[in-house]
């Protein structure tokens, strides 16, 4: 067996094998070759996310993004999908608060087709009326399903509480009444103003030479201009909770309750991100869902799933504990989690716990970068959060430099057990 020498770190993406160029119209292109499999992945984003949604038309950015492939000046819906499905390729769009993202893959021989279609969908969508109505029905069905999904309901309410007054508090998929209100004119106007090359990123990873990948992006999108494209609006400040907020959402007919507890977390670029991330691993990820998993699942047998997550974006993030428990056990699980959070935010983690998670972070990196999709995500993060092209090569040192005191400091900053949003959704809870 070959040993994993430190030299193997050089096989991780870095300045030696990532090519980054910015086209004259502002599009940044990152590419890395991988000829181990005859396939390619494209991914990227545009700065036209749901933060541009008017309150009464929440879901507009997403509705627009999902309409892009439903008809263009050159092809109708069936022609578009026939061209990619026939070759086993995929292309899809999604929305977050800041961005519209896209992702696709194909056999390497079909990359030109994929790039052409990306350009066509982004630049010349026609929003055919029948397609808009069909999509609306699909979005409304999705929202009807969401209204019955206990985990989604708890999570929506959680975001409303911790991000009150901020665009992060609003669901990208909107509400039935806002989706019902959006017209074809709204979609066209949103596209006309918000879609453009400024702030756009395209990543190509797989069985293609870098120059060839860049040429294909240039051919497809290099002459795109949109002088109307606005800058992102200023974001309001986020005000942390001053006392805990507890809410229960009754969902009749369900068997299990979903519980979300937590608060805001650091932004991705914050120096506290990495200590918080290692702390999060100790709290609810490492091994069988960390300390929380150990207490709630392993020892008390209260839940199949009980873990934590740290979600970090541009402006801020969230630090959440989630669990699925029997309604009779909601209070007991909440209390167990609260006592773990109290311990976590007052006592430093042990050196051994920290070393475990540090080893995990460093060791899992090559695995997360095994597939083209994994590398594409990594390149997007490098660029989006301006981490530097050598970030993954520096990563082991960055991880090792975190101390228990730094983790405690991050926990103290964010996780106050008496200032949490605590939301459960499921059958009505027994008041006794």
């Amino acid at each position: 067996m070959r040993a994993l020498q430190p030299a193997n770190w050089k096989t991780l993406p870095g300045p030696e094998d990532i090519t980054l160029v910015t086209l004259p119209n502002g599009i940044s292109v990152l590419t890395r070759s991988n000829f181990n499999s005859p396939s390619v992945v494209i991914a990227g984003y545009l700065a036209s996310g749901s933060l541009f949604d008017p309150d009464d038309r929440l879901g507009l950015a997403q509705f627009t993004a999902l309409s892009l492939m439903r008809g263009t000046q050159r092809q109708n819906f069936q022609q578009i999908y026939d061209s990619i499905e026939s070759v086993g390729a995929t292309l899809g769009f999604g929305t977050s608060v800041h961005n519209v993202s896209f992702g696709g893959r194909a056999l390497a021989e079909d990359l030109p087709l994929l790039m052409r279609l990306l350009s066509e969908a982004l630049r010349t969508p026609t929003f055919p009326l029948d397609q808009v109505e069909r999509l609306r029905a699909q979005l409304l069905s999705h929202l009807a399903i969401r209204a019955q999904d206990t985990a989604d309901l708890a999570s929506l309410e959680f975001d409303k509480i911790i991000f009150a007054g901020h665009p992060y508090s609003r669901p990208e998929d909107g509400y039935p009444e806002t989706i019902a209100r959006i017209t074809r004119d709204d979609l066209q106007a949103f596209h006309r103003v918000q879609y453009g090359p400024q702030g756009m990123v395209v990543v190509v990873v797989g069985a293609v030479e870098p120059q060839r990948a860049i040429d294909l992006v240039q051919q497809a999108l290099g002459d795109w201009q949109n002088p109307r494209q606005p800058d992102a609006p200023e974001m309001p400040a986020i005000i942390p909770l001053e006392a805990s907020v507890r809410r229960q959402i009754d969902v009749p007919g369900k068997v299990q309750s979903d519980l979300v507890m937590g608060t805001i977390g650091p932004a991705r670029c914050s120096p506290e991100f990495l200590p918080a991330s290692l702390g999060n691993s100790i709290l609810g990820q490492f091994g069988m869902m960390g300390r929380i998993g150990d207490v709630v699942r392993e020892r008390a047998g209260l839940a199949y799933h009980a873990s934590t997550s740290l979600n970090a974006w541009i402006a801020t993030g969230s630090w959440e504990v989630t669990a699925g428990v029997n309604p009779a056990n909601v209070q007991r699980a909440t209390d167990l989690i609260l006592s773990e959070l109290a311990r976590f935010s007052t006592e430093p983690v042990t050196k051994e716990e920290l070393e475990d998670s540090q080893a995990n972070f460093v060791g899992r990196l090559p695995l997360s970068l095994e597939s083209n999709g994994g590398v594409a995500n990594a390149l997007i993060n490098l660029y989006r959060f301006q981490l530097g092209l050598d970030y993954y090569q520096r990563y082991p040192q960055l991880v090792q430099s975190v101390t228990p005191e730094m983790v405690l400091e991050a926990a103290r900053t964010y996780l106050h057990p008496d200032r949490l949003a605590i939301v459960s959704a499921g059958p009505a809870l027994d008041k006794n």
């Binding site: 209204a147 309410e157 150990d294």
Partner: protein, 435 residues
């Protein structure tokens, strides 16, 4: 690609070993497969195979609980286990120089898992909680009802997670006996793919497993379900506002020659789907026949099909989310007319060629990652042989329009199916209260 042919061997105690060297990354993925799943369960102990899988994570004397988790996680590896109809599998994907830990762990827990009574009890509530999480989902409730109706005597009758009454009663000894009866070298396949040397790996497996007794696992062939004599229809009602339709046809086993024609048929009807477990994904299905008629016909908002590779004949399902204001009956009648077209032989060579290209692309995506390649080394062995996987695209390419017509005529007939509908009661949710 830098990979070598697969090495197949068997130790004298019956342990099957499949090894595939791949030197593209310093990673090894290691899987141990047991030929035991919900198919091996009788009424009263349903869900026991899955529960045993949970207990396998509780540790042994050599690798106590927690130590195990920690050891793998520290190396940055990932590990997990799955229980299915026909099999249970455990895997670890690790940096190549750390793989010995996984080899020792799996060899040890094949024979020395303890089943401590207190841990059995705490896992009982964990599994019931897992089941209750599923029960929150309308499609789980519908799928469970449909599967029960489709199989009256064969153990494919029940869900892998088991019946809640059984989960409340199964004892520590039931679990231990189930484990001892099925976790033996002669009932297992060890599969590795990644950055190792085959001869060195074989020698190491020989050291770890060579002295274990073969174990006595009797041949097991549950009686196949008798053919259905007439169509069955059922309804499940529950909360929400969304109606679902599910059709389940008895389908051929994976090793049956018709399986390949059936795969192409599924691809034409509901779109191409890969069988990859990791990194395979699928392609969209917007040009499939049922999408065009049902979604574009404004009857449903989505439709999908599922054909599983199983040891005994299982089910081919078509599932749709019905559009508000439409009925499951309307969707059903369109599905029936599309099936009629297939039975009438309306399939072009071009459509078949397209299905083959899609399958080829899905295979390429799946080969990007070593975990998925190791998965196939063992998975195919659970219902046939690795050759099944190697020949998959080739055998699809041999499928003719006549094969598809015949498969549609033979399998996709009303008397061979269960039609289930989930009808929402329309109860409102989302009443919030401050506490």
């Amino acid at each position: 690609m830098t990979s070598t042919p697969v090495t197949f061997t068997q130790l004298p105690n019956g342990l099957t070993i499949h090894l595939k060297e791949i030197h593209t990354a310093p990673i090894i993925s290691h899987w141990v497969w047991y030929r035991v799943g919900s198919r091996n369960e009788t009424p009263g102990i349903t869900g026991i195979s899955h529960w045993v899988e949970h207990m396998m994570f509780k540790g042994t004397k050599m690798f106590p609980s927690g130590v195990l988790d920690k050891a793998i996680s520290r190396e940055g590896g990932y590990w997990n286990a799955f229980t299915y109809l026909d099999w249970t599998t455990y895997f670890e994907t690790l940096p190549a120089d750390k793989i010995d830990l996984a080899l020792r762990l799996e060899a040890n827990r094949m024979v020395e898992t303890e089943f401590v009574p207190e841990e059995v009890d705490s896992e009982r509530t964990v599994i019931i909680s897992e089941r209750q999480g599923h029960e929150n989902e309308p499609l789980f409730r519908l799928g469970e009802a449909v599967q029960k109706a489709a199989f009256r005597s064969h153990p494919y009758h029940h869900e892998v997670i088991g019946e809640v009454e059984d989960l409340q009663k199964i004892t520590r000894d039931d679990l231990y006996n189930h484990y001892r009866g099925h976790y033996n070298p002669s009932n297992a396949v060890v599969a590795l793919a990644g950055d190792f040397d085959t001869q060195a790996m074989l020698a190491r497996l020989q050291e770890l497993y060579g002295n274990m007794p073969a174990g006595n696992v009797p041949e097991y062939h549950p009686a196949l379900e008798a053919p259905q004599s007439a169509e069955q229809r059922l309804e499940v009602s529950g909360p929400g506002h969304t109606t679902y339709l599910q059709l389940a046809y008895r389908a051929p086993a994976a090793a049956h020659p018709d399986f390949f024609a059936f795969s192409v048929l599924d691809s034409l009807l509901t779109g191409a789907t890969g069988l990859n477990m990791f990194g395979g994904g699928g392609v969209s299905n917007k040009t499939s026949r049922l999408y065009r008629k049902l979604v574009e016909g404004e009857l449903v908002v989505n439709v999908s099909g599922g054909l599983q590779a199983t040891l005994d004949p299982f089910l081919y399902d078509i599932t749709a989310t019905v559009r508000p204001g439409r009925t499951p009956q309307e969707a059903l009648s369109v599905i029936d007319s599309e099936i009629q077209r297939l039975q009438d032989g309306q399939v072009s060579a071009e459509e078949i060629a397209r299905a083959i290209k899609q399958a080829r692309a899905l295979f390429a995506y799946g080969s990007e990652n070593i975990t998925n390649q190791a998965f196939w080394l063992g998975y195919a062995e659970m219902f046939d042989h690795y050759a099944w996987f190697e020949q998959y695209t080739e055998r699809l390419a041999q499928v003719t329009a006549q094969d598809i017509q015949r498969a549609a005529q033979e399998y996709l007939v009303p008397s061979n199916r269960v039609v289930g509908a989930y009808l929402p009661t329309g109860e409102e949710s989302g009443e919030e209260e401050e506490e």
